[in-house]
């Protein structure tokens, strides 16, 4: 029996070589001991795995919220009204209009049409979590981590302004101020001001620069900073559902200034006076920009 443990003790340097020299095959054992010191194995990517664990832990928590709501309904049913105070889950659903929401810590959310948002007003001070299905613009006060849970991923921030557009099929985040962290099953991306990220349900990721300082739909005016003319035109086309022909414009132009999100005519006046363009309407939804010859 003793013999059984002797080899192990020798390998662990508890027994010196000289006590083992007579053992059959000692030469080979010694080589094994020496050579195996140089062995190396694959390592765990600790950071990546921990992020996945944290993400799944948070998802689990949101399952608990459903459970809490069920419990609250039950408590009401029993008539313990005071008890339900613990479960101050709020839900806001918009149909065709946007809605402004102010959270207990003065953070502001503007919820776009056709969107759904949930948070808990009472536990807010410990846990700044909202869950979102749809589109919303956030102005977050500084404080503990602010989490936006969506069907495809998680957005984590400290204090900043950003927009989230999230459904089951696609997920995009635009950051307008500060920094936000976007986490999905496969990606993790930190966005700085004026960066946006788009993630499809096939988990492809696209990162882009954005030249404006808040989403078009939240306010009557939007500030653009050094935006290329092409980008300005694209924004107008998309927002007002029109077509603009700029094929005759030769110069590279950058635009800085305020544009209206309501009034197309006002925008055309601003652009034509800033850059000496003539703007002509071709048909109901089509316009053409022409450089003014006189200048």
């Amino acid at each position: 029996m003793e013999e059984n443990y002797k080899l192990a003790k020798w390998l662990d340097n508890q027994i010196p070589d000289r006590e083992m020299q007579d053992l059959e095959g000692f030469d080979t054992y010694q080589k094994i001991k020496k050579i195996s010191q140089d062995l190396a194995a694959p390592n765990l990517n600790e950071e990546k795995t921990f992020q996945q664990i944290e993400f799944r832990n948070i998802q689990q928590k949101s399952n608990f919220k459903v459970f809490y709501k069920f419990a609250a309904a039950l408590a009401l049913l029993v008539g313990v009204a005071s008890f339900s105070l613990f479960f101050a889950a709020k839900e806001v659903v918009t149909l065709s209009q946007t809605q402004k929401i102010e959270l207990p810590d003065q953070s502001k959310i503007q919820l776009a049409a056709n969107s759904q948002l949930q948070y808990n007003a009472l536990t807010w001070w410990f846990n700044r979590d909202v869950s979102l299905n749809g589109k919303a613009y956030f102005e977050v006060e500084k404080g503990s981590t602010f989490n936006v849970e969506t069907p495809l991923g998680l957005v984590q921030v400290l204090g900043t302004k950003f927009e989230v557009d999230a459904t089951e099929n696609q997920f995009s985040v635009r950051c307008f101020e500060g920094k936000v962290k976007v986490i999905t099953n496969q990606h993790q991306e930190i966005l700085e001001a004026n960066e946006s990220v788009f993630i499809s349900n096939k988990n492809e990721l696209k990162k882009e620069f954005i030249p404006y300082n808040q989403p078009f739909w939240t306010d009557a005016h939007v500030q653009l900073n050094a935006a290329e003319l092409k980008k300005v035109v694209k924004l107008l086309e998309k927002h007002f559902n029109i077509e603009i022909d700029i094929s005759t414009i030769s110069k590279e132009k950058q635009f800085s200034g305020k544009l209206s999100t309501q009034d197309l005519k006002e925008n055309f006046e601003i652009i034509s006076s800033t850059y000496q363009f003539k703007i002509e309407q071709v048909n109901k939804n089509k316009y053409i920009f022409v450089e003014d010859e006189e200048n």
Binding site: N4, A8, T28, I32, S36, A41, N43, L44
Partner: protein, 172 residues
């Protein structure tokens, strides 16, 4: 009503420290057994998620055995295992002149190859014990905790591992 004092494991910082302390060894242990990186990663994820869920019920001193019990149960049905892919650190420094001759180097390379294939022929339990000691510098006491067996049993496994390594190497 007696108020239950919540375990420290539920504190995020403690949880994170526990992860830094145990995740790597947990991963290695299961990688040595099954030779599959994905399974070993899964095991780390599953056992730590379970720990978070049960953080109120697991006191700090019990965390290690909790993790290994969950992990062992998780993989209990995986019978087949793959080749463990190991490398040698190229450490030629501090060699004597004798050890730098082409013949010596050639012989050593051959021995290295033999050792790798012998390691892959060990039983998963023996392999894990052997590699945790040789690669990760774990003491027999630590290995006993990881494998959830006695120190004597670890020593026995190790001795048997050495015998079977020698046997394979000398007969290739």
């Amino acid at each position: 009503m007696i108020k239950k004092i919540p375990s420290q494991v539920c504190e995020k910082k403690v949880y994170q420290n526990l992860y830094s302390e145990h995740a790597q060894v947990l991963f290695k242990h299961f990688y040595y057994k099954f030779g599959n990186v994905e399974w070993a990663e899964d095991v780390v994820q599953e056992s730590f998620i379970k720990l978070w869920k049960k953080c109120k019920d697991v006191p700090l001193p019990k965390v290690k055995s909790f993790l290994y019990t969950v992990a062992n149960n998780w993989l209990i049905n995986k019978h087949h295992h793959e080749k463990v892919k190991l490398k040698y650190k190229n450490d030629y420094q501090g060699r004597t002149e004798d050890e730098q001759t082409p013949l010596y180097v050639l012989e050593e390379e051959e021995f290295k190859t033999r050792l790798l294939s012998a390691i892959n022929k060990l039983s998963p339990k023996q392999r894990s014990v052997f590699l945790l000691h040789r690669i990760d510098d774990k003491s027999y006491r630590e290995i006993a905790e990881i494998e959830q067996i006695s120190i004597k049993a670890v020593e026995k496994r190790m001795s048997n591992a050495l015998k079977s390594l020698r046997n394979v190497i000398e007969n290739i």
